[in-house]
Subunit: 152 residues, 3 copies
């Protein structure tokens, strides 16, 4: 059985607490073994990761912001299954929204921050389909990521 804290620790990462929604909605909904997780906005232990990629943030900064969104998705997943990863089956869908300049083209490299994390943590079961888009975002954050997971 997966020990997510240990797995993340090997990647020099740490599971954050599951973020509280910014407004009147739930962090996740489970139906028919599908776990729908709300858009997670980029943040780390210092607070929100704000900025515009291609303007005052690099692709590497964006990658790290997306990775942090991925950590928040994992925190919500962990809460949803009460830490019992035998209940986790696979990642289905990742939707990555990148706050970037109009001429920015490297959204896929940014969203790899979350995709690489899922594959590093879950291996084959972490592989997923995805969309990657440019958007302006709540609170001026750099990246927002929505997730859909399958449970056992």
């Amino acid at each position: 059985m997966l020990d997510i804290e240990k797995k993340l620790s090997k990647l020099s990462l740490k599971l954050p607490s599951a973020p509280t929604p910014a407004a009147n909605y739930l962090p996740y909904v489970i139906t028919n073994k599908l776990l729908f997780i709300s858009g997670q906005i980029s943040a780390d232990k210092n607070g929100l990761i704000k900025g515009v990629i291609g303007q005052n943030m690099s692709v590497e900064d964006g990658y790290r912001a997306a990775q942090n969104c991925g950590l928040s998705l994992l925190a919500q997943l962990n809460a949803a299954i009460s830490g019992d990863f035998q209940k986790f089956k696979r990642v289905i869908r990742i939707a990555g929204f990148v706050n970037a300049t109009n001429t920015f083209e490297d959204h896929p490299k940014v969203v790899n921050g979350v995709s690489d994390l899922m594959v590093s943590v879950f291996g084959e079961n972490g592989k997923h389909m995805r969309i990657a888009l440019g958007s302006t975002l709540p609170l001026g954050v750099a990246v927002e990521v929505e997730g859909l997971f399958e449970l056992n």
Copy 2:
């Protein structure tokens, strides 16, 4: 059993007719007790609610636009279940797209217009996960909202 007209009337709101799609698509699709509703664009009895939040519309204007998108979602739900709310189980997912300036940060407050409506009408069963993004939108409307509902 829920009388949606009466419930909305108590909130001083009124169920609109279910809007006709703006192009070659269906207003909704039902599969496996999941009701997927097409993006509803902001409109009221006077027509489309157009504008850019943070430029020529306030957060409050945006909230009302989002609420109107929510009313359209309810109208599509009502049509999908032929007004029989025993067939309604819960709201799963709300995706709110806000036409705002690049520096706007209050998308969550705007999208609360639809989230608050769902909770006011359905209580616990109206609670949902969601995403909120900034986007440019069809026909220059202020808000577009997509919905996913679960049926009994």
Copy 3:
């Protein structure tokens, strides 16, 4: 049983090879007879279809870009069901993202490029719900389209 190549040939169209994902993700995921297909970016035999609609591309250009995204969705579907269209049940959801100017309003006409294709190929089973938004897009492409299909 549907011969997709023949059907497309009657429309003077051709099934492309299923595009390889641009980064670390899968082209599609199947779960519970739902086929989730990753965002397909506009491309034809000459390569990526790049541009901004309303700036250096017309609505008609955008329609053709969206149609090409639709052909890529069909190529992924074809790969997912190994060409056996008895396994195809219906199109559920199309999400069309249009790289357009801030004042552009005709996203629905652009996204009809993919919706019309689905209905031309599959008839009633090609009808779907959808969202259409303005977004900036990976690699500067004009259109990106995500698809959700139901299988038998």
